[in-house]
Amino acid sequence: MVNSKAEALGIIFPNSYDSLVPELVSERLMASIPFASRYRMCDFIISSMVHSGIDNISLIVRKNYHSLLDHLGSGREWDLVRKNGGLNIVPPFAQKQVKIFAGRIEALESIRGYLNKQSEKYVILSDANIAVNFDFNELLDAHIKSGADVTMVYRKQPIPETLIRQSTSSEDLYYSLGINGDRVSKIYINPTEDGEMNFSLNIYVVERELLIKMIDDAYLRGYTYFVRDVLDRQIDNLDIRGYCYEGYVAHIHDTKSYFEENMKLLQEENLNALFSGDQIYTKIRDDNPTRYIVGAKAKNVMVADGCVIEGEVENSVLFRGVHIGKGAKVKNCVLMQDTVIGENASVEYVITDKNVTITSNKSLTGNDSYQVYVAKGQIV
């Protein structure tokens, strides 16, 4: 291939870890959670793939995917309107007994026919609960060079507390890796130890034909989880390598981490780490520039277009079309699209979902360790 087209196709699981953020996904899924003032979570992995020359990307959705369809549309804003490849959103196939897939095995089995027909040699699998500016070319090169069957991406970090707390109840599994050289020698399922671990980012590279074989085999045996039921069982037979990612990662695993990861981007070094690479694409809304009216005060904030600021705002992340009324005070908040803060209202440590209205003179306060969350469309 000339130019930049990669020898891989991408498969994204947009519903992974939905169970960790029940409020945020009550009307959407993990991949369409708004993040960093004007993006949705899936923008990061999709844009990264596109910039790495991957232009054949499938998203296998499970439920609550209206918002994702609305966001991605034809995929034009990610440069994914293609005759060959492009964007492919796969909803569950409705049968007499509609059975929604539980794990990656069933999800992949549902697109087996499609996988079979593709020409790319490799498949890159990923979730959408992380915001990264990831160089998939580098990963693919490492995978090819090592001659491995499977490459798993991990990051050296402690296991998030929420995961540990829910380790016996959540339907979404998480993993850490035992690494020997660059071989993955052990896969720990829902580990609960403290301290730095080789925490799996759930990004995998595998040869397409091998993947099909693995799924067929696992599906016949009634297996559910790709890592637990396929990779871990065959860890001695397969050549599984680890790939340590050292770049910036915003990892969403509960409402608090959602708040904190947004807030972290107010620090310039974090913002630059996430965004100074290739552009992250997102849906265009054609908002006008943000207007700061006489009397407005802004300090340490990240603000998208389309906002009107008449009051005071500090240490906050504002998404598109937010209106802060006269005399209102906003501090340490994440305000999603089209939130309206009425005159003289005061909000602190609050997350408002889309189209929330806080009426005039109301006061709403959370704190550093617990943020008040106001659901989509609510009027307080």
Partner: protein, 403 residues
């Protein structure tokens, strides 16, 4: 399938009185209002009025404009039949010619218009800031059973002699046309926006082309000829916001008016009449810990650590700590370094104002006064000073003064 109405947008103008801003781009491509270019206004008006076929006539420095328009997708003008087409002068079997005048530009594209077999053609100007519903204008044209209609604005009588004026009777039928007359008989200024019945327009274009003494201009030739033949010509009154941003002070002023939509009448926040543009795709803007932002418009990609008052900042502008930006229009990607003062001026794209440099000055008294202008890509050296009416085309060295 015929189109009822095709729009032809005149975008070949050099905009020579915008000097430093139009060295490398045509006037319709000049940035405006924080994230737009002037041409976004007529294009968005077209789409919002239901017009889906637009020919853009380009001639002067077309590259920026061509790239910006692209396939027309940001304005929803990427259509299977119709859509937006950029029409530069081209070579024909009989030879080739630059567009000699506004009428000649349309004449040379008669074949383009005929592809759509329209009933009406609307001629638009690519260098005005205006939100206008052209469908309402067309409705008027049909109601009057007109052959030609022109959009007019009432202007103060004392300023009337600066405009092309339409003298009309009580039924709005035009009886006379005066081009910048000393003694105006009317205060209805032509906005340079016309609707023609296509058969009439074509007839007069062909006739005009055959006249070797013609300047091939709508105002100077076509309209007088229509009057001569006593055609059914009507004046359509428009009373919304309209500004011909032909000069640096008027461009600056129009930008400042965006900051005060309640009084100026130019509301970019109108959900029902969105102005579309090609977006920068940058992240949300950042306002730092010690920044002061007052009465300003700021867009994606900006990073503000200094003071910004009563200004318009385009995508990706950096204002460092200790820098002051006041009454200024700062276009995309420019950097205002620490200690620099940028006041009452226009800074074009990707310029750098180094530390402690001073650009422009607030004029004494009322009125717009002089507006300093820095061309795109220019660097103003540390400690340099640029006077209030300077037009800076090239880098200014450290410590130098430029008046």
């Amino acid at each position: 399938m015929a189109k009822e109405l095709v729009a032809m947008l005149l975008a070949g103008g050099q905009g020579s009185r915008l000097y430093a801003l139009t060295q490398k781009l045509a006037k319709p491509a000049v940035p405006f209002g924080g994230k737009y270019r002037i041409i976004d206004f007529p294009l968005s008006n077209c789409v919002n009025s239901g017009i889906d076929t637009v020919g853009i006539l380009t001639q002067y420095q077309p590259f920026v404009l061509n790239e910006y328009i692209g396939n027309g997708q940001p304005w929803d003008l990427d259509r299977l039949y119709g859509g937006v087409h950029v029409l530069p002068p081209y070579q024909k079997a009989s030879g080739s010619d630059w567009y000699k005048g506004t009428a000649n530009a349309i004449y040379q594209n008669i074949a383009f218009i005929e592809r759509y077999d329209p009933q009406y053609v609307i001629i638009l100007s690519g260098d005005q800031i205006c939100k206008q519903d052209y469908s309402d204008f067309l409705e008027f044209h049909k109601q009057k059973n007109a052959e030609f209609s022109v959009a007019v604005m009432e202007v103060p009588w004392e300023e009337a002699s600066r405009f092309g004026l339409m003298v009309a009777d009580e039924d709005d039928r035009i009886t006379e046309f005066q081009e910048k007359p000393k003694e105006p008989k009317s205060n209805l200024a032509s906005m340079g926006i016309y609707i023609f019945n296509w058969d009439i327009l074509k007839k007069y274009l062909v006739e005009d082309e055959a006249d070797p003494n013609s300047e091939n201009d709508f105002g100077n030739n076509i309209i007088p000829n229509l009057l001569r033949d006593n055609r059914r010509m009507y004046a359509y009154h428009f009373n919304g916001y309209w500004k011909d941003v032909g000069t640096i002070p008027s461009l600056w002023e129009a930008n400042m008016e965006v900051l005060d939509p309640e009084h100026s009448g130019i509301d970019l926040f109108d959900e029902n009449w969105k102005i579309y543009s090609r977006n920068s795709g940058m992240t949300g803007h950042r306002i730092g810990e010690n920044a002061i932002v007052e009465n300003s418009m700021i867009t994606d990609g900006c990073n503000i650590k200094g003071t910004v008052k009563h200004s318009i900042l385009f995508a990706g502008v950096t204002v460092e700590e200790g820098a002051v930006v006041e009454d200024a229009v700062v276009m995309g990607g420019s950097v205002i370094k620490s200690g620099a003062e940028v006041k009452h001026c226009i800074v074009a794209e990707n310029a750098t104002i180094e530390e402690n440099a001073k650009v422009g000055e607030k004029p004494e008294g009322e009125g717009v006064g002089e507006v300093a202008t820095i061309a795109a890509g220019v660097t103003i050296g540390a400690g340099a000073k640029v006077g209030p009416n300077a037009m800076v085309y090239d880098d200014v060295k450290e410590g130098e003064e430029k008046w």
